[in-house]
């Protein structure tokens, strides 16, 4: 069902195409849909979920990005607008953040442009001043558009920036790890600035977090600070996003992490 007729059958052939806006289509469709329970099917989905449990975060000394995102979503009770960049942190945000309202995950999906997280968040906050807005940034993407911290300061746009700083172009690094014989060519950022000092240079409070027990406090502190704030989460570098279905492969080729022995 799509409002754009050209989307129908473009990449996958539809058995039953319906052209119209989703709302219009659903309004027409709902009276014709019979109530159902799909008991066996929902049981099957539950079984799949127990065999492949989502949302697990393994216990480790290092600071995992998943851990930070879960803390963040707990602190905001899933009510914040989350604006992400593109890459590993984006996928983790999609996996570990929870959402309770429409239009609260804002991300560059089709084009996948790194750097969206800074200006995208500024725009979201301008449009929804009533909402807490978190910019979930990678250290790569953040450096593409961080000049617009000045815009946040100038206009007092109250966006909280969480940099997931693993010192790499994480997703490319992951692909090199899995598909390019661990040849980490051109994905390690050894010249990153000190993001805390950078924030301070713009007159924004900056907080560095390197340990798990600092996470909740830093998030709280940022949320209590009026105006923009930056948290530099120095996260584990060698962390891949799983599950992963390699590009062009079917679900049979899905890579998963083993279920951890102990979880956070």
């Amino acid at each position: 069902m799509d409002v754009d007729p050209s989307e129908i059958d473009k990449n996958v052939r539809a058995t039953a195409p319906v052209v119209g806006s989703v709302k219009q289509v659903l309004r027409q469709l709902l009276p014709l849909v019979e109530s159902n329970v799909h008991m066996d099917w929902l049981r099957r989905v539950d079984a799949l979920r127990s065999e492949h449990p989502p949302m697990l975060i393994r216990q480790t000394d290092g600071l995992l990005p998943q851990y930070v995102l879960r803390a963040l979503t707990e602190a905001t009770q899933g009510q914040a607008i989350v604006v992400t960049g593109v890459g590993q942190h984006q996928m983790w945000a999609a996996q570990f953040c929870s959402f309770t309202e429409p239009n609260t995950l804002i991300t560059s999906g089709g084009l996948g442009s790194m750097g969206y997280e800074v200006p995208g968040a500024l725009g979201a906050k301008m449009g929804r001043p009533d909402k807490t807005v978190w910019s979930i940034a990678g250290d790569g993407g953040f450096q593409m558009t961080m000049c617009d911290l000045a815009t946040a300061v100038e206009n007092n746009i109250d966006v909280k920036f969480a940099i997931f700083n693993n010192g790499t172009l994480g997703m490319v690094h992951q692909w090199q790890d899995l598909f390019y014989k661990k040849d980490y060519f051109a994905t390690v950022y050894s010249g990153n600035p000190d993001f805390v000092k950078l924030a301070e240079a713009y007159g924004i409070p900056g907080i560095r977090v390197t340990e798990k027990d600092q996470v909740a406090g830093a998030i709280q502190q940022a949320m209590e600070t009026p105006g923009p704030a930056v948290i530099d989460f120095v996260v584990t570098r060698e962390e891949n996003v799983y599950p992963m279905i390699p590009a062009g492969e079917s679900v049979n080729e899905m890579m998963e992490e083993p279920i951890p022995e102990s979880i956070e």
């Binding site: 754009d4 007729p5 050209s6 129908i8 059958d9 052209v19």
Partner: protein
């Protein structure tokens, strides 16, 4: 029709006659990797509107996408795939062929056979004008080839559905985009 389902489709589009419209259409074809076998553009019966005839090569899915993507362009008012309809399709060609005193009579005979016309005669050449379906022009071209074709220019096909159906915007075609898009989808099943 070739073995892989590739064949010619004739699409007729009514478009706004404005600067940049052709670019937009050509850009869409290029960007989506569609091939135009021929394209003819000219004024329509309605002021401010042009009619374009496309001949597109491809399988059913490709042509369906071309039609839908054309429909999406704001300046394209209506597109129809008339390939399966009873239609009149014509192309005009000008052929400059070598003509000596010896060969001239034979060429004139061929031209007459095809109900073509001679529009220019020089000491060593003639220009022949022929109108007809693509096959007819191809056939004439083949027959003239041995004399030596110096230059040839073909306009590309223009096509129109036979009978009553009109192409005016207000002929129940206010929802042209929807209708034709849905039709394209329906046709494939």
């Amino acid at each position: 029709m070739s073995p892989n389902g590739q064949h010619h489709h004739t699409l007729v589009a009514l478009v706004e006659d404005r600067p940049g419209v052709l670019t937009r259409i050509a850009s869409m074809f290029r960007r989506r990797g569609f091939n135009i076998a021929s394209l003819a553009v000219g004024k329509s019966e309605q002021p401010g509107l042009s009619r374009m005839t496309f001949v597109v090569t491809g399988d059913e899915d490709t042509v369906s996408q071309v039609t839908k993507q054309l429909d999406k362009l704001i300046e394209v008012i209506r597109v129809s795939n008339i390939s399966s309809e009873e239609m009149v399709a014509r192309e005009l060609a000008l052929v400059k062929v070598k003509a000596t005193a010896d060969s001239r009579a034979e060429i004139i005979q061929i031209v007459n056979l095809f109900r073509a016309g001679i529009v220019d005669v020089g000491p060593q050449s003639m220009v022949i004008e022929v109108t007809g379906e693509e096959d007819k022009i191809n056939a004439l071209q083949n027959l003239l080839q041995p004399f030596g074709i110096m230059e040839m220019l073909r306009t590309g096909v223009v096509a129109m559905v036979r009978g009553q159906s009109g192409g005016r915007v207000n002929d129940g075609a206010g929802q042209g985009m929807e209708l034709s898009a849905l039709k394209t989808i329906g046709e494939k099943r």
